[in-house]
Symmetry: C2
Subunit: 770 residues, 2 copies
């Protein structure tokens, strides 16, 4: 079929009318009578400037879908153009299907306008309540990464991605232009970016908006694209050019998918900001300037002259012709595809609908056999890697691993038995684990790893992002925004749940080797904790089997953000797989094999692999010299379980908490992260005042593992002495212990300063079991 | 003078020897006897791969400085090439001046090698202990932004910036290439980026390393640079080409500084990774591959064959010729500049030495007169803006304002009476407050704002970064790294203190208007709190005069990160300037004019402008119906003062804390941010269990201001009812209050859902004073 460009124009004008009217109107939605004061919102909130450009791009995307019957997804980078995105899905009918009170009638139209940026209504951005959106676009920078993530393993999908020239200044977006190098033509879908040069941010011109044409072309050729420029403000000419350009681009994408060769096309669209809006207000130019960014014409409801100006503007779209009786005219509807091909109805934008559970291999075959506690040694991430390789083998189209070049150094390289890294360019003879069709995505940009993964999850697939612990802070803000999206999506009631966002943080604060202080930061846990336990889980598996149990849970969970911190170095192993699963179910628990006095004087608790090792070594030290001290040992694997049920529906009951941690017994809590977090989570518990947390005190450098522990007081000596101190015990055993600690500390200091290594009897300490 | 290229080569080989030897040697620093097992570090930690490229760039920078007598600063983006940066400053003598035990002798050389990545020694990156460094380079991405920040207002300085091709993949770096558009030739210094294409990250090839030459050239032309390519592996040819290219670039910079015209030069340097290191190990290629990234040749100390291979490699540099007796030969020294021109000695890299205090105008003339409490209305940031304009007028070369296009929307636009935004391109007739020599730096990249400001501060100048509160999370990680740098710098003992890093967060969680949930996030406070009160301050000024007092303190403080959260909307004013200053001095205090019963039943506390307004309105409500309730009102302006002296040397004493907050009286604490933070800061206080915090509960959308407060329970009604509830009071007054609250809530709901505005009697509530 062919769509008439006059119909595209009618659709566009209708969408522009709807976009503008959402900012202003409480009533009189078709302007069938003169605008009265009570028709106007007293507070006018929203963004006009980007909207007509977005509607223009969506109009032409609709045309292309209708003509080619090809599924497309539209990502609106300038998500503050919410009015435009809402307008599109209302016109194509998908909005009313999700929001029946906002139907395509005069009354529905009235509600469409009234609800926008209004108490009890809908937010101003391309948020989760809008069908067809996977990208809220509030925090700028992630559109192209999301679009790319959506395209992976979706060979039949074209993702059209509007990128604002404001957004294009962000770091995340600036590196996102390299994303196409990670798409495999034929296996993955295509991304068609449209850089929208409307020239201005909220108050000033953009960098890209002021670049010369040849500089723009050079920049995008340099990024590896073939840029097509469409530029102007005359609608007729622009429709013709845009349609021809879209066709050329989609044809080029087809060719590339077929042959695997060629530079992918992208469009640079230059139109006036606030196109078709007020040209001037009070003698100041508005259209084509930053003044068009938000509300271009402020209308005090009782100002008749302003109301007339607004009416003139709105009537310029001829609403009664486009929306007779409040529903789109036949001509308008002839420009829009139908069924699931509608941008508002594509199942890719409600990824949960398409999402199948992973085919997960059993973990049993990968578990480390535990014959004696601490007897076996294993790298937790190494064990996980072998299991992940199986996951990748069984799910060759729905699971991906993302990371900034650390798959190997984080010991997950067993996955390279199954697939390779995706090569972003030619492969050299000396390269290893690198191929044009590799499914592991490595790029030294946490923004891209995160953005691609989010796009992949939002369209219903599964994945894991492995990162250095310290540098995951680079995407703090993206984590916020994704969790906020999940919250809003859940609140819609109609969106399907999506697979969990999983981070595996390795190369963590306590084991750095080649790196120093800048690589030592466990604060991502603190950051996530603020977002709420209904959507966030923080896992600190103490050993390899615990990591396997956590990974199983993480990869089957939905609508959740799971942060898993696990070491990559060989460490002693404590729990069988079965024990690890039970431990995880409870979140924390007494390790009776380590210490479980019925009436403890001191409780030693731990969370995190290295703190657990040190805490157990402290128990060992105490047992040697002060065997009469009545001890209990508690380990925490699911940190959010410390929160009471009032703050976390899955949090441990007060009974369970008190049974493990007591209410009056001093607890020495050896923690992986900043001590404050434990207090933040547990402050409502009865025994809170008795919690004494050892953790990271923001001290570090390039040094030995034990020296790092010592600098921050999570080492076995500090824990043992604190336990003794708080028990109030004294006597010859205690004196012996202090003496031994003094001696060991001195010998460790001397040895490490001579050899650069930890004292063998510290490094090779083994749990002796009791 | 002319430096002989043979000398440059000798210097380079010496630096390469020093770089390699730091990874390996405990002793025998000049290889004067065969390498024995005890000469070798058992744990070899560091990064060789990038080092010879860095030494090459530094060699040629030294040559250019020596020949031109022009001050230069070298920023090593790949900061893990610490061995190279240390080698340079040891060779130019500056290292030994700061570290006298590491002198230029045989013994000093031994210590230089031994200390590297060693317990009690120095870290592996270009960290603060290395003179000449302002950039640790551990978290990649910020080198070019730091370099640009250093160049602002330093017309005589050239900043040479090595950018690794790994780092070039990060978002922050990808957008940093636009930074030159913000430098004003003639007024600002020049930045000479050298993109180092050594082709590999830790385990795989880089994107830029695999791009075709014409794509690379197009990319950098598109970014606005004139790229010069230097490529090869033959040292003689490479020295000639690099020297000629550096000369051409520096000449071009001079021309641009003189004429204001021309594309700034940059260099693309392609050399093998691990250049001059082992070509092969065990039959696998190493030089020129990712295997050269860290330690290219693992040497077990007792493996004689490996020792021999190491010896062969190290001897290939001819150390005894270059470093006879352990100090650099005459030839080597002839390639290095002298005095403060040495890269290790430039005062720009120890900015505190150059830094003068700001000439600050008095705030008195800007203060809002307070005749009755809450009687005046003012925009806090608007008041601050007028004062900042004066600051900018008085300090035209040492103070800058940074922000992502929000100077105006955050109401700081009074500064535009003094200067403009820097135009990143041509200025159009319709532009306002935009000029080629504007000193306000706006770009829609928080990374650039932060990175430029950090570079500006590290070289001794002053500044303020204003941002949307939610989106400051984009630079969480940069904040971490800068604070870690300040901590390390302070610990050196010899670095001078630098001006504070100041963030002004406006458009905060409680006042969003045009935007919704994604723009509502107060978690930067939580993030910073983990970094420690010795370096961090969190300010929540309750009104305009308090903001002035805070700003004065912030702009005079040093070695500190100050986060200031303040609204931009017109709000009632509470404190005179003098009161505000006293209040700030104490950090928190009782507002006796609001409520100060000698024996309170309930304490109402607040932190943040909107929570304070609501808390005072709650007091007002209670007074109306339950006047007998014995109340006290406490406000907190300096959040870290809640921490006890054990955690914050400037924290309030327990006496002061208890005097305000009591130990057994219930405290309803109405807080700007996430409630957990108050518990995290105050958990050690005696009355902690009595603290009941209302704060942001992660709920929001585009709605009215009061509706936002209500959704999260920081509104006057929630506070008043909670206070009554916890007082245990009942009776007719309490019933009346509940009735009135029910009625007001209903009317607010109806009114706001009808008009989109808050109920006038809520919106226009005024403190009635008692």
């Amino acid at each position: 079929m062919t769509v008439d460009l006059a119909a595209v124009d009618a659709w566009w004008r209708a969408a522009n009318y709807l976009s503008a009217a959402q900012l202003y109107l409480l009533d009189n939605p078709l302007l069938e009578r003169p605008l009265a004061a009570e028709d106007i919102k007293p507070r006018q909130l929203g963004h006009w400037g980007t909207s007509p450009g977005l509607t223009f791009m969506m109009a032409h995307t609709n045309r292309a879908i209708a003509e080619r019957r090809r599924p497309m997804l539209f990502v609106a980078g300038p998500g503050h153009g919410g009015p435009a995105v809402i307008a599109n899905s209302w016109l194509d009918g998908s909005y009313s299907e999700r929001h029946p009170d906002v139907d395509r009638s005069r009354a529905g139209l009235r509600e469409l306008f009234r609800q926008f940026s209004f108490p009890g209504g809908v937010p101003s951005h391309a948020a989760a309540p809008i069908p067809g959106s996977i990208h809220e676009g509030g925090e700028l920078g992630y559109s192209l990464a999301h679009a790319t993530g959506a395209a992976f393993d979706n060979p039949d999908l074209t993702v059209v991605c509007a990128v604002g020239d404001g957004e294009a200044e962000t770091g995340a977006l600036a590196t996102s232009w390299h994303s196409h190098r990670f798409l495999r033509p034929g296996r993955d879908g295509a991304v068609l970016p449209i850089l929208h040069l409307n020239g201005y941010r909220i108050a000033a011109p953009t960098i890209l908006g002021r670049m010369e044409r040849d500089e723009i072309e050079a920049l995008f050729r340099g990024y590896g694209w073939e840029p097509y420029l469409v530029e102007g403000d005359d609608p007729r000419t622009m429709h013709r050019e845009m349609a021809a350009t879209m066709d050329a681009c989609l044809d080029a994408q087809d060719r590339i998918a077929r042959t695997g060769e060629g530079r992918p096309p992208m469009i640079v669209l230059r139109t006036p900001k606030g196109w078709t809006g007020p040209k001037e207000v009070d003698g100041e130019p508005v259209e084509g300037t930053a003044r068009a960014h938000q509300v271009p014409l402020k209308v005090a409801p009782d100002d008749a002259e302003r109301r007339r100006q607004l009416e003139d503007w709105l009537k310029s779209y001829d609403p009664l012709d486009l929306l007779p009786d409040g529903s789109p005219s036949k001509q308008v509807m002839s420009a829009v595809p139908d069924g699931d091909l509608r941008l508002g109805a594509t199942p890719h934008a409600d990824g949960g609908r398409l999402s199948r559970p992973l085919d997960l291999p059993g973990t049993e075959g990968h578990a480390v056999p535990i014959e004696t506690r601490g007897g076996a040694t294993a790298s937790a991430t190494g064990v996980l890697g072998a299991w992940l390789a199986e996951v990748m083998r069984r799910n060759p189209e729905t699971f991906r691993l993302f990371g900034p070049d650390e798959t190997k150094s984080n010991k997950l390289d067993a996955v390279f038995d199954v697939t390779e890294r995706k090569a972003p360019g030619p492969v050299a003879e000396t390269d290893t684990d690198l191929a044009p069709d590799g499914r592991v995505l490595e790029v030294l940009s946490e923004h891209l790893c995160e953005g691609w993964l989010e796009g992949y999850l939002l369209t219903g697939r599964h994945g894991l992002f492995n990162s250095y612990e310290a540098f995951i802070h680079i995407i703090d803000s993206m984590a916020n925004q994704h969790i906020k999206w999940m919250r809003e999506a859940r609140d819609t009631g109609w969106r399907s749940s999506i697979p969990a966002l999983n981070w595996l943080l390795s190369s963590h604060v306590w084991r750095q080797d080649h790196n120093g202080f800048t690589h030592q930061d466990p604060g991502f846990l603190d950051h996530l904790a603020t977002k709420g336990a209904d959507l966030v889980r923080l896992y600190l598996p103490p050993d390899a089997n615990s990591l396997l149990a956590v990974a199983e849970t993480a990869l089957t969970s939905r609508d959740r953000a799971n942060c898993i911190v696990a070491g990559k170095q060989p460490e002693p192993q404590w729990l069988s797989l079965e024990e690890a699963r039970e431990h995880l179910d409870r979140g924390f628990g007494v390790w009776d094999w380590a210490a479980d006095d019925a009436d403890p004087e001191i409780i030693i608790a731990s969370a995190g692999d290295v703190p657990t090792l040190e805490a157990l070594a402290a128990v060992d030290l105490i047992r040697e010299d002060v065997p009469e001290l009545r001890l209990r040992f508690v380990n925490v694997v699911d940190l959010m379980a410390l929160q009471p049920p009032g703050l976390n529906a899955d949090g441990a009951s007060d009974e369970a908490f008190d049974a493990a941690f007591g209410t009056r017994t001093p607890v020495i809590f050896n923690f992986h992260g900043y001590p404050g977090l434990i207090h933040e989570l547990a402050y409502r518990r009865a025994g809170h005042a008795q919690l004494h947390v050892h953790g990271y005190r923001e001290k570090g450098t390039t040094t030995t593992p034990f020296n790092m522990a010592e600098m921050n007081g999570i080492d076995r000596f500090s824990v043992a002495l604190d336990a003794i101190e708080r028990s109030g015990r004294s006597g010859p055993g205690v004196d012996r212990l202090r003496q031994r600690v003094d001696d060991l500390r001195q010998r460790q200091h001397d040895w490490s300063h001579r050899t650069g290594e930890d004292l063998p009897e510290i490094r090779d300490w083994a749990w002796r079991g009791r």
